[in-house]
Symmetry: C2
Subunit: 475 residues, 2 copies
């Protein structure tokens, strides 16, 4: 790591003169530690030298100019809610926290966009949009903590991707700061753009390895119709999985189709102090949301879906009769990771397998077989209607946490190879971060790696942006 510059006293002062008092933190291990790890877990953390909190684009640009000149690594950070260590400053240097840039600048009703800074909490954007009669259609499970900038950086998915797509589709424009400090504006308040290579779509999901996002123009959808939630309980996972393609192919307006297995539900309901119906005999649940414009459409929707589930072997389908019912169902889904972590703080959230819908049964079967072979207890949670599966393994009790980090990575590497063999990829929405970087590199061809690294160089010739992530070496 000699290649990178260090933050000297002089550079510290220079950074401070950019941000003003309170904008740079150094030599305070307790505070710095908060920026050393993300929701992948502490064992994947790494301490930064400094945290810098710019208040606006000009400050971001000035900081990047200094970092570029001095070859200091910069790791942009949103809420730190990522699940793969994407925001961990592996090479030390600066964590560039966007937390102070948290304003919703405008809701533009005619063009149906919001203009926001990257540090806006996703849910705040949802609420602001709703107040003006719109829907922000992104719905990552971390909606109450994650920042919209982080959603963009990871191309976050979540519970409504079947209907609305992932974050890439919701972002129409961005102001970005290149590693050199130059500011570029991409896209705009419109929905079509063939004016050059589409950098905006490339940046979505690039995990802070190419540029810093300082402003976003966000698509707003018309307010959706009414929705209803169904919870289907199955005696076997096989029967559950069989339903999924049929539900998705039903032609009804399916907004969500989520899977929770018995283990996950057990630990999560224990954690929340609640129960789901039929918990004793259910091996798994499907949580399905159906939309309709009229009462008749809604009824037709849930009756059709309910019949499919029962036909595939569900022994019960509950239709939420109130907002309270719905909230209770979704509460378990949203807290799945927390539930597993209450059972074991080292429960690993990086699993994010993506396969074609037709391969979901085989993928689930392989996950369960391989977990058994490895003697690893897992819970499974899944945006199963997308073919996106999150196995959450628990650390074997006797294994030291230091070893678990590597063991979990190895376990996921095996699963990822299975997903790829089934026509899938190793991440659908959580990204690569550094937990999965090695397996990413092993599973791309040399030709593809060369292109990816060429793109990285085009943006970041000195490799100062989030080194050690995606396709960038750790120097």
């Amino acid at each position: 790591m000699e290649r990178y510059g260090k933050i000297t006293e002089e550079i510290y002062k220079e950074l401070l003169s950019v941000t003003g008092p309170g904008g740079v933190i150094m030599n305070d291990a307790e505070v710095l530690d908060n920026y050393a790890w993300d929701q992948a877990g502490r064992i994947w953390g790494h301490m930064p030298e400094a945290v810098v909190k710019p208040a606006d684009t000009a400050q971001v640009s000035a900081v990047m100019k200094i970092a570029s000149r001095e070859h200091i690594p910069v790791t942009p950070r949103g809420a730190g809610s990522g699940l793969n260590g994407g925001a961990v400053p592996l090479a030390g240097g600066v964590v560039l926290s966007l937390e102070r840039m948290n304003r919703i600048l405008e809701i533009d009703k005619v063009n149906r966009v919001a203009v926001v800074e990257p540090g806006v909490v996703t849910n705040d954007l949802c609420r602001a949009a709703a107040e003006e009669g719109f829907l922000y259609a992104g719905y990552p499970m971390s909606t109450e903590t994650s920042f919209i900038g982080g959603n963009f950086a990871t191309n976050a998915g979540g519970g409504k991707v079947i209907r609305y797509g992932n974050t890439r589709r919701h972002i129409l424009g961005a102001e970005i700061v290149l590693p050199s400090g130059e500011i570029i504006n991409l896209g705009g308040r419109f929905r079509k753009d063939t004016w050059g290579y589409n950098l905006l779509n490339l940046l979505a999901g690039s995990e802070g390895t190419l540029a810093v996002v300082t402003r976003l123009i966000v698509n707003l959808e018309p307010k959706p119709g009414r929705t209803v939630n169904l919870l289907a309980c199955y005696p076997t996972v096989e029967e559950l999985v069989e339903s999924v393609a049929k539900v998705i192919g039903s032609g009804k307006r399916i907004i969500s189709c989520e899977f929770m297995d018995k283990n996950l539900v057990k630990y999560t309901t224990e954690y929340l102090g609640c129960t789901l119906p039929e918990q004793e005999r259910s091996e798994g649940y499907l949580l399905i949301q159906v939309e309709g414009d009229t009462e008749a459409q809604i009824e037709d929707g849930y009756e059709t879906v309910g019949k499919i589930c029962l036909g595939c072997g569900a022994f019960e389908v509950f239709v939420a009769e109130s907002r309270t019912d719905s909230a209770a169902m979704w509460n378990v889904r949203q807290n799945g990771l927390e539930g597993m972590r209450a059972r074991d703080p080292h429960a690993c959230a990086s699993g994010d397998l993506m396969v074609p819908l037709s391969a979901v049964p085989e993928m689930i079967r392989r996950i369960r077989e391989i977990s058994a072979e490895w003697k690893i207890e897992i819970g499974i949670i899944s945006h199963i209607g997308d073919g996106n599966i999150h196995p959450i393994p628990l650390k074997p009790a006797e294994m030291p946490p230091e070893r678990w980090a590597q063991h979990a990575e190895d376990f996921f590497a095996v699963l990822i190879r299975e997903a790829i063999a089934l026509g899938g990829v190793g991440s659908g929405e959580h990204g690569v971060g550094h937990v999965k970087q090695k397996v990413l590199m092993e599973n791309k061809s040399p030709a593809e790696l060369e292109v990816m690294q060429g793109i990285k160089r085009a943006f970041d010739p000195y490799n100062i942006m989030n080194p050690g992530k995606m396709f960038s070496p750790l120097a």
Copy 2:
């Protein structure tokens, strides 16, 4: 152009040994001329040295290896229906025609995708999807001639973008051949992918300057509800334009919202030998398609939209009562360019301004003013609900065609600067090609150009892919 290699007798034989008899055309000016220009018009054409027609991916790869070794320029070509000279071989060399790779390989009902070769005609894909109960949602106005590969290369838009997005959104995976001949697979039969930088989204709209597409995995939508078409006639363009944001913001399921001005309708109906209602007194028409699941929804849709139009000053709104009615309306819209060209074969189709919906009235006003100042007769056709406007200028009668090529480019350059000043860009769906390359380069910052050119180098270090387009110099 000395930098590039020439196709010697030996290389010709080598290419022929790759494709087999009939796969390489050289020294036949009459045939080569068919591949020298696209729908931008003959005056923007340039002759290739040879046309190569590979039959499969292995042949494409072998051809690219030869071209790479010999530094021979390669310009991939679909149907040649592009409107900006994107498929014109500016540096000579090889036109790589994908016309023989025209098979629909599979309709995969469970994963709701089609797997196709790039030379499939868009409409053939639409029909094959419909036969299986699906919708291919791309709808470029050239649907009966354009290839799906060309749709991807230009990120084609068209008449249903408001509802379904442009081609990028419909493409889930691709097999591509790099300039080096290496084959890469991107994406797959799924709808989420954060497994590395998203090359698939970058390639959409890259106009054959980065790689050759040899296979596409295409998203299929469930069959849509019923639709109805409305034609609203306005005494002034100002009143028409006022309606648009209100129609789009109505919350009804608007599939299309298209504008045709008086001039365009006049020449197009003359060309087709038909009339539209109220043609004498209408300065412009809105053609609006509304979707609904039930008769009541449809009625509610067209009544709401109709009232908006009348409230803004339309003196008449016609609801198509039959498929014949609908076809008559859309026939004029689809033949707008042909109508203008029947009036003047040099009518220039490259205008593709993109502005926020809120800026549409001002943009239309400026187009009309500037055309008047330049004494250029225009027709305007527009996916106005997207903020995407196609002014089609006619060559002044006394101007020689050679001069018109430059004059039209200059005219568009002025309009594009206006669009950019209004928060827009210079192309929404037709792309840049070479007709607009100069103005593109002039209107991007040096920092952005550097990134764009770095991306080009990452794919194509010898600049053999479609030189002279987008950000690649002509050597």
